[in-house]
Structure formats: C-alpha cells, structure tokens
Symmetry: C2
Subunit: 115 residues, 2 copies
Amino acid sequence: MEKEPEHCNVEDALGILVGKWKPIILLHLLQEGTKRFSELKRGMPGITQKMLTKQLRELESEDIIQRVVYPQVPPKVEYSITEYGKSLEPILEAMHEWGTNHTLHKMGKLNQKSM
Amino acid sequence: MEKEPEHCNVEDALGILVGKWKPIILLHLLQEGTKRFSELKRGMPGITQKMLTKQLRELESEDIIQRVVYPQVPPKVEYSITEYGKSLEPILEAMHEWGTNHTLHKMGKLNQKSM
DNA sequence: TCCAATAGTATCCTTTTGTATACTATACCA
DNA sequence: TGGTATAGTATACAAAAGGATACTATTGGA
C-alpha cells in the first residue's frame, strides 16, 4: 500500500459496493450465474422492487452487470455479471472471510463477558 | 465461497467500512500509526468535526480503533488501530488494488470511444 | 370476461448521512 | 486582558438511501 490516502482508489470500489443490497446481488450473480429479475427478488427477501431495480440499474451503468431484455409477454429480463464485474470477486471474498471471523470475534467478546 | 448469500457475512464488513470517511480514516491510521484528532482532521480536507467525531466513535464502538484521552489543557486525544482493526487490512488492500485497475478500465473505455 | 404472471413506475414517507455554523472549557502566552 | 489551541457539543438544515404501497401493460388460460 502507498503513502497517500488522499486521492484514494479505495473510494471507487466502495462507491460501487456500497449499499444494503449491491454486494448481495453480486454474490448471487457470481455464485449462481445469470438470473431473472424475479429470481433475484425471490432470493433476497426484504428487498422492494424499487430498490432492486435501482441497484441493478446502478450496477449496469458501472458495467458490473449486464441486462438483457427478451421481448416477450410477460416480460423476461436476465441479469449477469460482466467480465469486469468478476474482478470484484477478490474484494467480496476478503469481506466474506473477514465477516466470518468477525462473527467469531463477537462471540468471543460475549464469552469473555459471561466469565 | 459458499452457496448461501442470504445470511451473509459480507454485510458485517460493509457495515463497518461503509461511509464516505471510514475507509480513509482507517487508511490513515494503518499507514501512519497513532494520530491525534486534529492531525486526522488536517489529513482529510473537507470533513467536518462532527462527522470525524461520529465516524471515530462508531469505529471505536466496533473495536476497530482505540481512543486514548490525555487529561491536559488543551485536550489531547490519540486514535490508533486495534489488533482487530488491522484484520481489515486485506479488504482495504483488495479495494485499493481494484480501484487502481478501475481507473485504468475507465481510461480504456475513454480511449476506445476516441478511436 | 376475469385472473395470473413479469418487470417494472409513481408516489409518499421515514431514516440515515452529510454540511454549515456557532458555541464551550481551560491553560498558556503576549 | 485578550487571543490561541484542542477536542469536542449543539443546532439547523439539505440530500441521499431505503421502505410501503399502489399502479401499469400485455397476453395466455380458465
């Protein structure tokens, strides 16, 4: 790592990953491949249509995911990770690993208190 | 990576790193060691005292940084990364590396357009 | 004729995040 | 006596993120 946090590249990654839903969307698409809108929605209980649409649009405009519309009725729209989007995987993995240990850390603190 | 993004550990990491300022604060403390409040503030032009205080309090309550008050006048308060906080470094590094390539990617797209 | 299904919009609301500005206590120094 | 420095707090406000609910178009099927 360098010595100048000021003009900081970390922010770019954060800008793309930030939000309550984006990382989860990306995990779904990374792990399960192409998905329809309704499949994503079912896989994320709690998200509203508005939020899912918004997050997908933002990810698409960053070239992280791809959106393909099939001209059918009822409509069919498929989302998938782009090659570029796949480059985010190491970050997601680092977070996932850290998150796992974080859980252990929290449990450790609880155990200490109860001793 | 596993197959169940639902109860997802990635969120814990995001919860700690998210915000306009937290990653920058952590980078400062990781790279430059212990810092006083005023030093951090000077190192982050644009941040207000209220925000800096708030972010530091949150990081402290997550056990990511340590706050030491010296009973002096004028006051002196020092902040430093905890051992636990250092465990976030791989995530920050992955983001930093990705951010660097992201810049190249954006420049690549611009070059393509101008051709 | 009416209902279901899909992938959304539109509208309104609450919560969180961030900004701007003013204010505090206290000791040292001129 | 008045200014400077430090690490804040208080107040008011603006903007962004997120949530709840209702609505749309279209076609095939009962």
